[in-house]
């Protein structure tokens, strides 16, 4: 049994040690599963630069949606004697991308893993403060993390002179957010952490140079950080071997919608969409037919039947005109009206727009009005092209941050793949699904 557990933990490093009852691993259990060995190893035998290099060599790419190489992100932080201090590490735990629930699972089940990952990131960039930016609804995650933080402080994995070292101290705190999608955008997050509205900031300067309170700051997603202890403990080569493609590691994939078994599973990065959808989610529920999916949250482009054999990795999905995003897919079935679903998506983005830039603030409500007209049977054929024109005006380069381009992705692809359904609304002057 012990041997099998070990094997499981090597194949599924993020979730293999979870308790069966869904309660969070406490410190003793986490240590028994190899927890904090990586932090010990790093402080004993690795320079901060070595930790950065190992993460770079592992090909770990950010799991929050953008897929930026993590080691490279860290390397932009200025180091050296006269580099600015203090520096900060922030875990982006504001999981608000619709359809996404993977970070919650990690924090609820293994809070120490996030803490150890953050401690290693802090060591790698020379940070002395760390914040977990947690969405307010994640009350169970907050409880698990509070317990783990207290235990970690007591055992000196955090605090002054971590593990007796005379060169590394780290304070870590939780910031409970008050709810706004914009907080997930890393510069919006930093403004929110400073007690302001979560408006995006101009880039450059990037947070690594001028972030929280104007000091060097690294913001990483929860799943990204949770991978770090395993990379340091088992090495970059091992981490790369977990994946089926070029990028390293496993991925927590998920599926929601009318599938038989909605849920999340840690699988090799590059597992095909079909294996996740049919093998793990059990395929469609009886009486429902598959029509399409958004591979990684509400801001990723729809994919359809012909894409099902694609590997779920960053490059394959980009080539297919979509993005892996958060890797938690939303399934569209044949009994859901594609226009109605689009209204749900665009209403979300319109409501969550911070209002800072005009195309997003004015364009998204306009899109919602147009969609509502089509859904209510009052649309005209030109309205469909008007939607495409609006989406074009929200593309990257037209707006201040990625929120509106993220809204345009499901709109453009939704019209592309389901145009006939939009046209039927106009021709029949009603919603063929009986909605609206």
């Amino acid at each position: 049994m012990e041997g099998k557990n070990k094997q499981n933990q090597r194949k599924r490093p993020l979730t293999g040690s979870f308790r069966a009852d869904g309660e969070p691993l406490d410190l003793v259990e986490y240590e028994k599963a190899g927890g904090y060995e990586a932090l010990r190893k790093a402080l004993k035998s690795m320079a901060p630069k070595d930790v950065q290099e190992e993460v770079k060599a592992s090909n770990l790419r950010g799991r929050g949606g953008a897929g930026f190489p993590t080691g490279q992100k860290w390397s932009f932080v200025p180091t050296g004697e006269d580099a600015p201090r203090p520096r900060y590490v922030v875990a982006n735990a504001d999981e608000m991308e619709p359809g996404t629930f993977k970070d919650r699972i990690l924090m609820e089940n293994s809070p120490h893993m996030l803490i150890e990952g953050m401690a290693l990131a802090a060591y790698a960039i020379g940070a002395e403060h760390a914040y977990i930016f947690l969405r307010g609804e994640y009350v169970r995650s907050a409880r698990a993390l509070e317990m783990a933080l207290a235990q970690a402080r007591q055992k000196n994995y955090l605090g002054q002179n971590v593990l007796g070292s005379d060169f590394f101290s780290l304070e870590m705190h939780i910031h409970m957010s008050a709810g706004r999608y914009m907080c997930g955008e890393e510069t919006g997050l930093l403004n929110s952490l400073e007690g302001k509205r979560a408006m995006p900031r101009t880039k450059p300067p990037y947070p690594q140079v001028s972030g929280f309170m104007g000091k060097p700051t690294v913001v990483n997603n929860v799943e990204t950080l949770c991978n770090v202890p395993h990379i340091i403990r088992n090495g970059a080569a091992w981490f790369k071997s977990l994946s089926l493609g070029q990028d390293g590691g496993t991925k927590i994939y998920g599926a929601s919608g009318r599938v038989k078994r909605p849920g999340a599973w840690e699988l090799p990065l590059g597992t095909t969409i079909r294996e996740i959808l049919e093998g793990h989610a059990g395929g469609m529920r009886d009486g429902y037919r598959f029509r399409g999916l958004m591979p990684g949250g509400a801001s990723t482009e729809f994919l359809v039947e012909e894409h099902l054999d694609l590997p779920m990795d960053f490059d394959s999905l980009q080539k297919a005109g979509s993005r892996m995003g958060t890797g938690t897919m939303i399934i569209m079935d044949d009994r859901t009206c594609p226009v109605g679903m689009q209204i749900s998506l665009q209403s979300f983005f319109a409501r969550e727009s911070c209002g800072w830039c005009t195309p997003c603030r004015e364009g998204l409500p306009w899109i919602v009005h147009t969609l509502n007209a089509i859904e209510d049977g009052q649309g005209e054929m030109e309205d469909i092209d008007l939607l495409l024109e609006q989406a074009r005006l929200l593309a990257p380069g037209h707006t201040f941050c990625a929120l509106a381009p993220g809204a345009a992705e499901p709109l453009l692809s939704g019209v592309r793949y389901f145009r006939e359904d939009f046209e039927r609304h106009v021709r029949e002057k009603r919603c063929p699904w009986g909605e609206g």
Binding site: E95, G179, F348
Partner: protein, 155 residues
């Protein structure tokens, strides 16, 4: 005026903050836990306490969706209307709750027991459709009648 307990909880929120202003979101949430919502008077008192102008604090208070600048009922029901719940019974659930409580989104029941608010994805999409009542998440509410017994628990 903030009472002693409120002040103590605000100070706890501010303890690890860079300055009083950076802690204002946590402070608003702490006071709201006692009062249910943030009134104009409360906002002015808090601004003074946090060394901010009332406008500065209102700028923040009106931005975040779980800070309430209008009165709410004893319990707040946040119903997820995002895409995963939308495809799995959100509309039926909203209709059911609205009919049962005789309120639509943004409204409070006559007896002040519930306020119903639309919410962005609650992050429990594997248990769609889902709602949150105060700090408790309830998922898998299909058929929507399942919610009746849950609502009964909140007095």
């Amino acid at each position: 005026m903030l009472n002693e307990q409120e002040m103590a909880e605000v100070e706890k929120e501010l303890a690890h903050c860079e300055n009083r202003k950076t802690g204002c979101i946590g402070a608003l949430k702490a006071v709201q836990r006692h009062r249910g919502w943030i009134s104009d008077e409360c906002l002015k008192d808090m601004a003074l306490y946090l060394e901010m102008t009332p406008d500065e604090l209102d700028d923040v208070a009106t931005f975040y969706s779980s800070i309430y600048r209008r009165p709410v009922g004893r319990h707040v029901i946040s119903i997820c209307d995002s895409v995963s719940c939308y495809t799995v019974g959100y509309r039926e659930l909203l209709r059911h709750i609205s009919e049962r409580l005789q309120i639509g989104p943004g409204q409070t029941t006559g007896d002040g027991r519930f306020t119903l608010l639309p919410a962005a994805c609650l992050g429990v999409c594997e248990k769609a459709p889902a709602i949150m009542i105060d700090e408790d998440v309830h998922g898998g509410l299909e058929p929507p009648g399942k919610v009746d017994e849950i609502l009964d628990r909140y007095k």
